[in-house]
Amino acid sequence: MKIKLQFIFVFLIIIFVLSIFFKSLFENKNYIPEKIINKLDNQSITEFYSSKNYKLKDLFSPEEYIILNIWASWCVPCRQEHLHITNLSVVDNLKVVGLNYKDKKNNAGKFLSDLGNPYDIILIDKNGTESIFLGAYGVPETFLIDSELNILKKYIGPINLEDELEIKKLIK
């Protein structure tokens, strides 16, 4: 009898622990946004077509999400994810911002005219420093940012259909 009770007791504790693990597996893991906001704050970055300078925080407007996609014409997986970026560009409350990473302007332009331009605005990161400041790892990389400048999600590497659907779900 005593052993049975012990068993039930241990069993319940373990089930509890495991179910908590299970629950937190599917929690939406937001990044702690504070530092990244500060980094975004005062950088002014040149726009691709107009050569105007923008501050990243000017791009944000209330009730709108931003997808910040770091890409380059020389990057093979960027071509692969281009379709999904294009699909995202038609979503209503989502602004797609491209950050052109260490690229030649001609090549980048050709990339866009070949495949289509999914971006609402494209910024230039000529020597790759802005990307470092965003905490990026390489190209391609995609950040989902809300109107309060919180980075909700960060995708390292090309995004796929699954990620696209996830982004659409997140911003609803």
Binding site: F11, L18, L25, E27, I32, P77, T129, A136, Y137, G138
Partner: protein, 620 residues
């Protein structure tokens, strides 16, 4: 081509695994002798997994970017050494390494256990094979290292530069050897329970495996902290980072088990406790893997976050825990054990175990509490060093004193302990020394100063014990190593100094006792990064030290890392780290003085050497 060979050998290994599970269960049921067949099948499984690991290694060495894992984690301009270590520097490859070690240990167990009971052997292989099968399925369905990229990219994405470090290149494999060694302990104790084989013979067999995994885990953890100290440049060696804790927990459990098995071996006592420890060691290793790989914990060690992988490990973990719970409660019918003696070695060891369990639970709670809190209340917290210090340090005091006295006690006998004069003198001496230290140096941390006397006491006693013929060399050496470890950690955290300043080239600044001069900076292009070397002079008491810390700008992937310049001698580490300040000509310069760093590494090595000597003795 390579991908195909690797993939198909995995498939074959999977099939063989099912065959072994079937065969070993059959031999267990029919109580037949294990036949040659099983040996043949086990070694061919090992051979197949070897092949698949080698193909992955070759794919990395030859930069075959048609392989997804290679494409994501390698780059053709990387030095060969890091191409090789890149094989296990990523999630998929490291799992393949786990699997390789699992099957290797399975084979070694088979070869080394010929003297033991047949039913026990076949059942152990059965359980071990279930673990192998679990990992094979995991690799196959969620993290196959042989996925193709079509079309083949021209260049890879590169290995994260902070992972490009010699200590880190060998740290994971050694740690895995430790983790995986505990899998044998797990399967062997489950099967010993079922076969009612928990006896002295079993104890001396399991002690070997415990020692093996303990040694590897000790060295693995040490290499990890060496990496954190030299490469991350955080100016410390232990941060209570969740992933570090995850490797510390099985270590604590193994240490307890190590002491426990000697009681079992000598006195046939503590049977069920030994089994519980053996099971929990592996469960803790697996939960650690789960926490790290599922991305629930965020830290420098986190591999790609993927709930699917986490889910798989979680299901597997639940399965293993349930099996072991059911077997434990069904077969746990040990009689009430022999009566115990208060002043005997057993009780000292039991007390050691209590403390180990206490430390274990502190670390465990500190690690998983944030996860629980977030799951239940959505609040995010991180548990830092103050929590661990406050809960662990007070309990270290009695622990260290008992550790100093325990080994001298005798088995079984309940002799009144004669308190020797030397011990009292040493105790007074250590209190006196710590008084002097507190008096003469302005110490900041109250807790730590209390710890000085017991740790010095342990140190003195273990130095004297080194000459004691009655004690085992392995034990003397390990305890001696541990005492140095504790003393140097305490002195290190008491006497570390740090100054930090932003300087331009040519500037100098006086900070407390130190004069920092930024003399020069040079730029050189090296293989896969650009190096900026600063020349910095630190002057204290008319002694001038020159430092050449470095900033590395990696091209692929684009990252800046900072390499400290460290001047080491036996008693002091002096180091300078520079950091890049954006859009300025300034560099942030940090000078640190860390006493006894070298002793910390040496003492960890002594611990491991003690273990190795013990292992050699057991194999004789």
């Amino acid at each position: 081509m390579l991908n195909l060979i690797g993939n198909y050998s995995l498939v074959l290994a999977l099939t063989i695994s099912i065959i072994i599970i079937f065969l070993s269960f059959k031999t267990f049921k029919s109580k037949e002798n294990i036949t040659f067949n099983i040996f043949f099948i086990i070694s061919s499984q090992f051979f197949l997994i070897c092949i698949s690991f080698l193909t992955l290694l070759l794919a990395f060495v030859y930069s075959d970017f048609s392989n997804l894992a290679v494409y994501f984690n390698s780059h053709s301009s990387k030095p060969l050494f890091y191409k090789i270590s890149g094989t296990w520097g990523n999630h998929e490859g490291s799992l393949l390494l786990w699997l390789l070690v699992l099957s290797l240990f399975n084979l070694i167990f088979y070869i080394k256990s010929k003297k033991l009971l047949n039913a026990f052997r076949s059942l152990t292989i059965f359980f071990q094979q279930i673990i192998i099968l679990g990992f094979l399925l995991f690799i196959f369905f969620t993290s196959n290292p042989f996925q193709l990229v079509i079309p083949t990219p021209i260049e890879g994405l590169g290995l994260n530069p902070i992972l490009q470090d010699p200590a880190l290149a060998i740290h994971p494999p050694i740690l895995y050897l430790g983790y995986v060694g505990s899998s044998i302990i797990f399967s062997s104790s489950l099967s010993a329970l079922v076969c009612n084989y928990v006896n002295k013979e079993w104890a001396s067999d399991i002690k070997k495996w415990t020692l093996i995994s303990w040694i590897f885990l000790t060295v693995g953890i040490m290499l990890g902290s060496i990496w954190a100290y030299y490469e991350l440049g955080w100016g410390g060696f232990w941060f209570w980072d969740p992933v570090e804790n995850v490797s510390l927990m099985p270590w604590l459990c193994l240490t307890a088990l190590l002491h426990c098995t000697s009681v079992l071996k000598k006195r046939l006592n503590l049977k069920s406790w030994t089994i519980i420890l053996a099971i929990s060691t592996f469960i803790l290793s697996m939960s650690g893997t789960f926490l790290v790989r599922s991305g629930i914990l965020n830290s420098v060690h986190t591999f790609a976050n993927d709930p699917e992988r986490g889910l798989f490990i979680l299901i597997f973990l639940t399965f293993l825990i349930l099996i072991s719970l059911i077997i434990y409660f069904k077969h746990n019918n040990f009689n009430q054990e022999n009566k115990s003696f208060i002043f005997s070695k057993e009780s000292a060891i039991v007390i050691n175990n209590w403390f180990m369990m206490y430390f274990l639970s502190v670390v465990l709670i500190g690690t998983v509490y944030p996860i629980f809190l977030e799951a239940i209340t959505n609040e995010k917290i991180s548990v830092g060093p103050p929590y661990f210090n406050q809960l662990i340090i007070p309990f270290l005091i009695p622990f260290l004193i008992i550790m100093a006295l325990g080994p001298k006690l005798e088995w079984i006998k309940n002799k009144k302990v004669r308190v020797k004069l030397t011990k009292i003198i040493l105790f007074v001496l250590s209190i006196f020394i710590s008084y002097l230290i507190v008096r003469h140096f302005s110490t900041k941390v109250l807790y730590l100063t209390i710890l000085i006397s017991p740790s010095l006491y342990l140190f003195f006693i273990s130095v004297i014990d080194l000459n004691d013929e009655k004690l085992k060399l392995s034990q003397k050496l390990s305890h001696f190593g541990f005492s140095i470890l504790i003393v140097s950690i305490i002195l290190n955290s008491l006497f570390s100094e740090e100054v930090s300043v932003n300087l331009k080239k040519g500037e100098e600044r006086q900070l407390s006792n130190y004069l920092l001069k930024f003399k020069n900076i040079t730029k050189t292009e090296i293989d896969n990064f650009t190096s900026l070397k600063a020349e910095i002079h630190v002057i204290q008491n008319n002694k001038e030290l020159k430092f050449y810390p470095e900033l590395r700008l990696y091209k692929v992937p684009e990252t800046i890392t900072s390499e400290a310049d460290i001047k080491t001698n036996l008693f002091n580490d002096n180091l300078v780290v520079v950091n890049y300040l954006k859009d300025t000509d300034y560099l942030n310069i940090r000078y640190q003085k860390k006493p006894f760093m070298l002793l910390i590494w040496i003492s960890a090595i002594l611990l491991a050497i003690g273990g190795m000597i013990g292992l050699r003795k057991d194999f004789k």
